[in-house]
C-alpha cells in the first residue's frame, strides 16, 4: 500500500515533463510569449464565442465508436497532443485551449447533430474533426449556416472548397500525380491495373489517375471496384495475373485492405519483386498494423507524410506522440495532418489578433508553418495546403522508407481542369 501514492503521481510527473519538452522547440523559435492582458476579451471575441479572459473552447469531432473508430483514433490523439503542446507554451492569445470532444459514432447524421451542438450550444471557436468525406459533407451545411471553422485532416477526392473549412490533408491531384510520374520515370511502368473500393474517393482518384496515365501515353489494362467490406479477392488477383500489368494501383480501404494484401501474398505475388509493382494511396502505417508488415513489404505508397521522415520536426513529433500515447503506436499520414489543425488555427488567430470566425477565415490564406512534421506547409487561397508529395517503400517492420519526394511544394488544386 505504501507504493500507492507514488504510483498515482507517476502520470502527473510524466505529463509535466512532456509539457516542458513540448514547449522547448517552439519557444526557441523567437516568438515572445503572448499575454492575455494584451488582448482584452471584448476585442478578440466580438461574436460571442466561448472565449474568456484565460480560456478558449474548441471542439474535437471524430468517431470513437463504430466502424470508423479504427481510422479516426489517430487523429483524435494527434489533435489532443497539439492542443496540449500549444497550452504548454502559453495557449492562443494568452488563453488556454479547452477542448470538448464529441463522438460522431461513424454515423453521418450524428456528425451533423454534434457539429451543431459544438457551434450553437458550446460556441466553440474552431472544430477539429471528421474523417470520411461523407461525414464532412454532412457537417458542411452546419458549418456554413452557423459560421464555424472546421479543420479537416484526411486526404480526399477534392471537388470541394468551403470558406469554413481548412483542408489539412491532400486533395487527390497532390497525392496521385507526382507518384505516377515517379513510377513511370524510375520504374519504367507502362501498364496499370486500377483497383478500388466502390465509393466516391477511389472512383474520383482513379479517374484522375487514368487521365494522367493516358496523357502520358501509357495504358490502363483494367479498372475495377469492389463493395466496401469485400473479403474475397481471388478472382481479381487471377485477372491481374492474366493481364500482367507493370503496376497494380490499389485504393482498397477498411477491412477489405487486409483481405486483399493477405490474399495477394497467398496467391504467390511477392510485392518485393515488383512484378507487378504495387502502388497505393490508401495504406498508411496505421493500416499496416492490421495487414501485417510481412504481407505489405515491397509495396509503394504515395503520401505526404511518413513516420520515418528524417527531419528534426518529425523526430520531435514522433518522440512526443509516443510519449503521450505509448511506444507501440504508429503515425500515419492523416494523423500528422490532424496534428497540423490546431497549429494552423493558432497561427491564423494570432495573425488576425482575434478569435472571430470571419477574421480567422480572412487571415488563413498565406499562413505558414515551419514546425510541421512533414516540413514546411502553407495555406493556399483555396484553403488547402501546399505540401510535398512523397513515395514510401513498405518495409518488413511496417514502416515506410521514403524513396522519393518532390523538390517543390505541390499546389493544391481541388478542381483540376482536364481531370474531371
Amino acid at each position: 500500500m505504501k507504493d500507492e501514492p507514488s504510483k498515482r503521481l507517476m502520470p502527473v510527473t510524466r505529463r509535466t515533463l512532456l509539457a516542458g519538452i513540448a514547449a522547448m522547440p517552439f519557444l526557441t523559435t523567437g516568438v515572445a510569449p503572448v499575454m492575455a492582458a494584451d488582448y482584452p476579451t471584448a476585442a478578440v471575441n466580438a461574436t460571442g464565442l466561448a472565449v474568456t479572459d484565460d480560456t478558449v473552447k474548441v471542439g474535437i469531432l471524430h468517431s470513437v465508436t463504430g466502424t470508423m473508430a479504427i481510422s479516426e483514433t489517430g487523429s483524435v490523439q494527434a489533435e489532443k497532443l497539439a492542443i496540449e503542446q500549444i497550452n504548454a507554451m502559453g495557449g492562443v492569445l494568452g488563453r488556454k485551449i479547452e477542448f470538448i470532444q464529441e463522438d460522431g459514432a461513424s454515423d453521418w447524421p450524428t456528425f451533423a447533430e454534434k457539429a451543431k451542438k459544438l457551434l450553437v450550444q458550446d460556441k466553440t471557436a474552431a472544430v477539429f474533426g471528421c474523417w470520411t468525406s461523407a461525414s464532412r459533407k454532412a457537417v458542411l451545411p452546419v458549418f456554413e449556416q452557423y459560421n464555424g471553422m472546421l479543420y479537416y485532416p484526411t486526404f480526399y477526392e477534392g471537388l470541394e472548397e468551403s470558406p469554413n473549412v481548412i483542408y489539412t490533408g491532400q486533395e487527390a491531384t497532390q497525392q496521385i500525380l507526382a507518384g505516377i510520374d515517379w513510377v513511370v520515370k524510375e520504374k519504367g511502368a507502362k501498364s496499370f491495373y486500377l483497383l478500388g473500393s466502390d465509393y466516391i474517393w477511389p472512383r474520383t482518384s482513379n479517374k484522375i489517375a487514368r487521365k494522367h496515365i493516358e496523357k502520358l501515353g501509357l495504358e490502363v489494362v483494367g479498372e475495377e471496384y469492389y463493395p466496401l467490406g469485400h473479403t474475397q479477392f481471388n478472382s481479381v488477383i487471377n485477372k491481374i495475373k492474366l493481364k500482367k500489368p507493370d503496376v497494380i494501383y490499389a485504393i482498397v480501404v477498411g477491412g477489405s485492405n487486409v483481405a486483399f494484401y493477405k490474399q495477394l501474398k497467398a496467391a504467390g505475388i511477392d510485392l518485393s519483386k515488383e512484378k507487378p509493382l504495387l502502388l497505393t494511396i490508401s495504406v498508411t502505417e496505421d493500416e499496416i498494423l492490421g495487414i501485417g508488415g510481412e504481407n505489405m513489404a515491397g509495396a509503394y505508397a504515395m503520401m505526404k507524410y511518413f513516420q520515418s521522415l528524417e527531419n528534426d520536426n518529425n523526430k520531435q513529433f514522433v518522440a512526443e506522440f509516443k510519449k503521450m500515447w505509448g511506444d507501440n503506436i504508429v503515425i500515419g499520414d492523416v494523423t500528422q495532418a490532424a496534428y497540423l489543425g490546431p497549429w494552423l488555427w493558432k497561427a491564423a488567430v494570432e495573425k488576425a489578433g482575434s478569435f472571430d470566425i470571419d477574421k480567422v477565415k480572412a487571415a488563413s490564406p498565406g499562413i505558414e508553418l515551419t514546425t510541421a512534421p512533414e516540413g514546411y506547409v502553407k495555406i493556399h487561397e483555396n484553403h488547402h495546403l501546399w505540401s510535398k508529395a512523397r513515395v514510401g517503400h513498405a518495409q518488413l517492420d511496417g514502416q515506410y522508407k521514403v524513396v522519393y519526394e518532390t523538390t517543390d511544394l505541390m499546389e493544391p488544386n481541388p478542381f483540376p481542369e482536364g481531370y474531371q
Partner: protein, 308 residues
C-alpha cells in the same frame, strides 16, 4: 476475352478460377455452418454470429502473441491450439448467452433477432475497449503463407487449401454428430417434438444450450481460420454476416445439406461472375439471382419435411 490468351494461359486460369470458387465455397460453408445449426435446430436468428467469429479471431491473435513471446519453438503449430481455444471461448460465451438471454425468448423469434443484434453491438464495443479500435495483425507461421506452384501459371494458395481441409473436417464432424451420436438424436428429437422429447427423458433445456454453444463454437473456429484471409478488428464480423445469412436462407433454413448446396451455388456463381465483370456488378447480379430464386421458392433450396 478468350481470344487474347494462349490455350495454356486459358486452361491455367480456368484451373485457378475453379480453385478460387472452391475456396470461396469452403469459406461460405465454414461461416454458415454455425448459424445454420442454431437457426435450423432452434429457430433462433443469431445476429451476433459475426461477433462470435471475431471472438475466435481475437483468441487466435492472443495465441499468436503468446506463442511469439514465450514459446517461439511452438510457433509453427500454435494455430491448432488457437483454433481449439477459439472453439472453447466461443462455445463458453455461447452457453452463457443462451442461459442469460436466449432461453427467455424462445417463443418470440422477432425478439431474439433484436436481442442478438443488441448483443452484437455490445460485443463490438467490448472488443473495441479491450483490444483497441484499430485492427490487429495476426502473425502466421511461414508454412501457412505463400503458395504451391503447380505450373508456371497455376499457383494454389496454401491458406486456401488449409481452409478447405478444415471445412471438410468440420462439416464431416457435424454430420457425424447430428446423424450418428446420441446428442444428435436428442437434438433432432427436440426439434421434431419438444414435449414428447421431454416426456421420454431428454433434458431439452440442456440440449438447447449445447446446440447454441456448438453453433457459436463453430463460428469461433471459422473466425480463427479467417485470420489467414481477412482482417481482425472490432467490426470485422459485420463483413461476414450478410453473406452468412444469404447462404443459410438460400439453402433452406434447417437443412445442413441445403446450406452446403447453397454455399456451392453462390460461391461458384460469384467467383465466375467476378472474373467477367467488376466486383460490384458481380455482387449485384448474385443478389438479384438469389432474390429471384427465393421468390419462386420461398422455402429455399432444400427443406426438411417434418410434422409441425
Amino acid at each position: 476475352m478468350i481470344g487474347d490468351y494462349t490455350f495454356g494461359e486459358f486452361t491455367s486460369i480456368l484451373a485457378m478460377q475453379g480453385f478460387a470458387g472452391l475456396s470461396l465455397f469452403s469459406v461460405f460453408v465454414l461461416m454458415a455452418l454455425g448459424l445454420a445449426i442454431i437457426f435450423g435446430q432452434m429457430g433462433v436468428i443469431n445476429m451476433a454470429h459475426g461477433e462470435f467469429m471475431i471472438l475466435g479471431a481475437y483468441v487466435t491473435y492472443l495465441c499468436s502473441h503468446l506463442a511469439t513471446e514465450y514459446v517461439p519453438v511452438l510457433f509453427p503449430v500454435y494455430f491448432f491450439a488457437a483454433m481449439t481455444l477459439a472453439f472453447c471461448a466461443s462455445f463458453g460465451l455461447g452457453v452463457l448467452v443462451e442461459w442469460g438471454l436466449i432461453r427467455h425468448l424462445y417463443r418470440r423469434p422477432l425478439d431474439t433477432l433484436l436481442a442478438t443484434w443488441g448483443l452484437s453491438l455490445i460485443l463490438q464495443q467490448v472488443y473495441r475497449s479491450v483490444f483497441g479500435a484499430r485492427e490487429v495483425g495476426v502473425t502466421l507461421p511461414d508454412w501457412m503463407m505463400g503458395s504451391v506452384a503447380l505450373t508456371d501459371m497455376i499457383e494454389i494458395p496454401i491458406n486456401g487449401l488449409f481452409v478447405m481441409g478444415l471445412t471438410v473436417l468440420i462439416a464431416f464432424a457435424v454430420y457425424l454428430m447430428m446423424a450418428r451420436s446420441t446428442f444428435g438424436k436428442q437434438v433432432r428429437a427436440v426439434l421434431q417434438n419438444r414435449v414428447m422429447a421431454g416426456a421420454v427423458g431428454i433434458d431439452t433445456k440442456r440440449v438447447d444450450r449445447m446446440t447454441f454453444g456448438l453453433g457459436c463454437g463453430i463460428a469461433g473456429i471459422a473466425g480463427s481460420a479467417f485470420t489467414m484471409i481477412g482482417s481482425t478488428g472490432p467490426t470485422a464480423g459485420q463483413l461476414y454476416i450478410v453473406d452468412t445469412f444469404l447462404v443459410v436462407v438460400f439453402g433452406g433454413a434447417g437443412s445442413l445439406i441445403g446450406t452446403i448446396a447453397s454455399a456451392f451455388t453462390i460461391s461458384q456463381a460469384q467467383s465466375a461472375m467476378e472474373f467477367f465483370m467488376s466486383g460490384s456488378m458481380a455482387k449485384v447480379l448474385t443478389l438479384l439471382t438469389v432474390v429471384g430464386i427465393l421468390m419462386l421458392r420461398p422455402q429455399g433450396l432444400f427443406t426438411l419435411n417434418i410434422r409441425r
